[in-house]
């Protein structure tokens, strides 16, 4: 996991750098929650550029972080999800609350 905080726009970028399953989510969750509570951003952006696999554990992970950012009054977005990851995201219905953005449109 890499994270980058854009101070000017108050956006926290969370770049996941491994396959997402039940085994890996615990650690990813811990790091993400730590970063979110540390920066209190108005928006979190999940960057999937380096994710080659995700199962339903990833959906649980995203919903959990969405609940946290919503509690803080912020929003969440997804960028750079490949075709295979998008298929799982679309199926889950999660895109209604955490939309996919083209990278150029990210503020």
């Amino acid at each position: 996991m890499n994270s980058k905080f854009d101070k000017k726009d108050n956006v926290l970028y969370l770049e996941i750098t491994e396959e997402i399953d039940h085994h890996t989510t615990e650690k990813i969750r811990r790091v993400m929650d730590n970063e979110i509570t540390r920066f209190m951003p108005r928006k979190i952006v999940f960057d999937f550029s380096n994710v080659s696999f995700m199962d339903s554990a990833g959906i649980g992970l995203l919903i959990g972080r969405y609940k946290l950012i919503k509690l803080l009054g912020g929003t969440a977005e997804i960028i750079n999800a490949n075709k295979i990851i998008s298929k799982v995201l679309e199926m889950s219905g999660i895109l209604k609350i955490i939309p996919i953005q083209n990278e150029e449109n990210v503020s």
Binding site: D21, H22, H23, D55, A57, G60, L61, K87
Partner: protein
């Protein structure tokens, strides 16, 4: 012994969460013999990951047990059986429902069976309480036109 399948394999491992990646990668490597597309292969990996995770979290509830995978190939179809000797499922219909989960506190999405069903062509669940659960999934790999063309090309060259 003459197998009625074109190929078959069996795999047995402990219900440890770091075996989730091991299981899906191994089954995918076996399925690769059918020359699937990247997307078909990803479907198989995801479905296997879901089923194995269910054995670990629900079947054995994070205690140690054995998970068994049997996979067979016949023509263009792969059949994958994933079983545990865990606590079993009381209400299979309920377990199949999208978003239903008994482990909401663990941030489980309740999408496991829904993903298996939509990514595979057939999913059968057999479960007996206190005996265990067996999930059987089938996927037919579509014949790729390009692969056919390549074969024809190779035949012409040779």
């Amino acid at each position: 012994m003459k197998s009625k399948y074109d190929n078959e394999m069996e795999l047995e491992f402990l219900s440890k969460s770091n075996n989730e990646a091991f299981a899906r990668i191994t089954v995918a490597a076996f399925a690769a013999q059918l020359d699937p597309t990247i997307e078909e292969l990803a479907d198989i990996k995801t479905a296997v990951s879901e089923a194995v995770t269910n054995c670990i979290i629900h079947g054995y509830e994070n205690t140690e047990g054995l998970i068994k995978i049997k996979a067979t190939l016949l023509k263009n179809e792969i059949e994958i059986e994933i079983s545990d000797s865990g606590k079993g499922i009381e209400d299979i219909e309920l377990a199949r429902k999208p978003l239903y989960t008994t482990k909401g506190n663990l941030e489980r999405s309740g999408m496991g069976f829904t993903i298996m069903e939509s990514f595979m062509d057939e999913v059968t669940i057999n479960s007996v309480v206190d005996i265990g659960t067996k999930v059987t999934m089938k996927k037919r790999i579509k014949k790729q036109e390009n692969a056919e063309e390549n074969e024809e090309k190779n035949a012409l060259i040779n």
